[in-house]
């Protein structure tokens, strides 16, 4: 008889949900929260939703196995997804499989990074992804379970078991789930996926291996320039990977801050340029030991400053959230890319 690990379909005696969760935990399939049972009938409903996407999946690192669509669907079922969320989850998986995303490095690192999933386009409203108030938080099944499903795939298919292949020193609550929608309706500039060359009518999933959102609170500034001073101060972090690892980052601007910046004539490009200039880290804030290490590994300062990315283009800008004077900064792992993939439908 084959080991359970080698069986695509597993025959189990009938059991209740508690017993199934104990069984799943024994197999190492659990993220610690309760799981739904991936029965054949439930998995079949999910598989039906991705019939428009027949491209094969490459081997998934670090484990280097080629997943079946049923195995992927089983993870989405266990996460509590509805079948109509599944194309978003599989598209997110395709994003993290972009070679430049560096899935192996982002899963095996001691850094706390988690896969950030941002959804753009019409599918946000079709399946109920929260783009407004509390968009990074709880309360919305799509946000909660799409991010969780991707995390379960990375655990079970990629093999990123905490403390074994996933070597994160402290982890990050975003590893449970980190999915939100762009607030395109209150974005006074161009929606993010259109900035990336997609059509406004496309539904697109963007992934980045990021830390959790860092809040950028500014209730006092009444000008766009004032807001950017606050944003840049929050981004200027000598403890971020991007100080020496260099790589992308997101600034997710709240709608009220976005309106102020737009009123004062700022564009996506000028915001990037200003943040790039103002968020540099002065060498006096870097320890001598770190400066020595950066020098020997090729991370040279520019005069008395270290930039937090390679160029202004490393700063990705969009709008999400609801009323209030808050925005968010999401730094990345560093050695990664932002991957945007259109949902095939």
């Amino acid at each position: 008889m084959k080991d359970i690990a080698d069986q695509e379909v597993i025959d189990l005696e009938d059991m209740d949900i508690e017993a199934f969760n104990e069984f799943a935990a024994e197999q190492g399939w659990s993220d610690g929260m309760p799981l739904y049972v991936p029965t054949e009938s439930k998995v079949a409903k999910f598989v039906e939703t991705v019939r428009g996407d027949n491209r094969p999946y490459p081997p998934v690192p670090p484990r280097q196995v080629i997943p079946t669509i049923q195995a992927l669907a089983a993870n989405a079922v266990m996460a509590g997804c509805k079948p109509e969320y599944f194309p978003v989850v599989t598209t997110a998986l395709r994003g993290v499989l972009d070679p430049d995303y560096n899935l192996h490095g982002t899963l095996a690192t001691t850094h706390s990074c988690a896969p950030m999933v941002m959804v753009s386009g019409p599918i946000r409203h079709e399946i109920g992804i929260n783009c407004g108030s509390n968009c990074f938080g709880q309360g919305w099944q799509a946000n909660a379970t799409i991010g969780r499903a991707l995390g379960l795939m990375l655990l079970n298919v990629a093999g990123a078991k905490p403390g074994e292949m996933d070597r994160s020193t402290q982890g990050n609550p975003a590893k449970y789930t980190f999915c939100f929608g762009e607030n395109e309706e209150e974005n006074p500039w161009t929606p993010y996926h259109v900035q990336r060359g997609f059509a406004p009518t496309d539904s697109v999933v963007t992934v980045m291996s990021g830390e959790g959102p860092h809040n950028l609170n500014d209730h006092g500034s009444t000008t766009g320039s004032g807001l950017l001073t606050t944003f840049a101060g929050g981004m200027s972090n000598p403890g971020a990977n991007t100080v020496y690892g260099k790589g992308p980052m997101f600034v997710i601007i709240g709608p009220e801050h976005a309106a102020t910046l737009k009123r004062d004539g700022f564009t996506i490009d000028t915001i990037r340029e200003e943040l790039w200039k103002r968020s540099r880290v002065h060498l006096s804030r870097i320890s001598p030991e770190n400066l020595d290490t950066y020098a020997t590994t090729g991370h040279k300062p520019d005069g008395d400053w270290l930039s937090i990315g390679r160029s202004p283009e490393d700063i990705h800008i969009t709008v999400a959230g609801g009323p209030g004077k808050h925005s968010a900064f999401i730094p990345s792992f560093g050695g990664t890319t932002v991957a945007s993939v259109r949902i095939a439908r």
Binding site: E13, P38, T68, A71, N102, V157, E289, G335
Partner: protein
């Protein structure tokens, strides 16, 4: 009940085993490969110093990835495969 296995996948690697030739640790060329994290270089130089008590070390060379967070470039892997009989990896952290 019948469930789908969420960890099931098809192996992407060949079942064929590569025959490794034995390494002569007294004379063969050895690559000391750092992942470019702090202390990896120091650890590898320490190993080289220790080995110097037992063998010649002129053909023990220090190599490094150009980024701690990125995979080793193909050129580096080819260099190691072509010019060394063994590689010692230091994962400094």
């Amino acid at each position: 009940m019948r469930i789908y296995n969420p960890s099931f996948g098809l192996s992407a690697t060949s079942k064929e085993k590569i025959e490794l030739k034995p390494v002569n640790w007294k004379t063969d060329a050895i690559a000391l490969v750092s992942n470019s994290k702090p202390n990896a270089r120091e650890l590898l130089w320490g190993i080289r110093d220790k080995l110097s008590a037992h063998r010649q070390v002129e053909n023990i060379k220090f190599l490094a990835k150009n980024s701690a967070s990125q995979p080793a470039p193909k050129e580096l892997l080819q260099d190691i495969a072509q010019n060394y009989r063994a590689a010692l990896l230091a994962l400094g952290d």
